[in-house]
Subunit: 144 residues, 2 copies
Amino acid sequence: MLDDTYFMRQALAEAQKAFDKDEVPVGAVVVANNRIIARAHNLVETLNDVTAHAEMQAITAAANVLGGKYLTNCTLYVTIEPCPMCAAALGWSQISRIVYGAGDEKRGYSRLAAGVLHPKTTASYGVLAEECATLMKHFFEKKR
Amino acid sequence: MLDDTYFMRQALAEAQKAFDKDEVPVGAVVVANNRIIARAHNLVETLNDVTAHAEMQAITAAANVLGGKYLTNCTLYVTIEPCPMCAAALGWSQISRIVYGAGDEKRGYSRLAAGVLHPKTTASYGVLAEECATLMKHFFEKKR
């Protein structure tokens, strides 16, 4: 069934790819008409680029597929709550909906920059939250 | 003299390039050891990509030049106050200093996401502010 859990599972598969590359394990997919049009995972270390978060790449890739800069009929699934950079980028994209797995109390946009999403964007969270958070926890434990 | 006004003038030259391409006219340069290591201007329309703000490109380009993701000994000059996306990206980059020309009351980070810069980053503004703002004004007048 192509529901939120299905698509978050795909985002988790992207996050696992990041984990396997020793990147902070965050993954994202963009869905339009029940179809995944972009997949991405965090590549900050690989690309030596602080802007290479999963969501940023997913936004750029989805816009390329659609041939326009706005994601007005799309949903972004991302394993961890977006940071203010990514949330503001999602705001510029006018995306209809975002769904994130686990919250990020320290770096998440909802604490630091709650007003940056587009007024028409709806946000929800908690889908596969434990699995999303556990992957992050394992990553940071490995780093210690 | 290689002072703030000199470098902001270079950022303004970038903004003019954006203007000439019918892009919202924002330009940026990154300076390390009194040398410009990256120049960029807004390319959102050209690239069909809402993340292609001048600052985002300047951050990526500067990191490429330096061979590392952090811009800890750099200053970014940008003609208009960064939006929350760009300010948060600058936060991730741990840049030492940002200087912007004109404020942006509606979209600027200082109103929407004041806490996203890195604690070690200093910010100042007002350098060539009138010229920076005038270029924007001309752009939006032309659009009406």
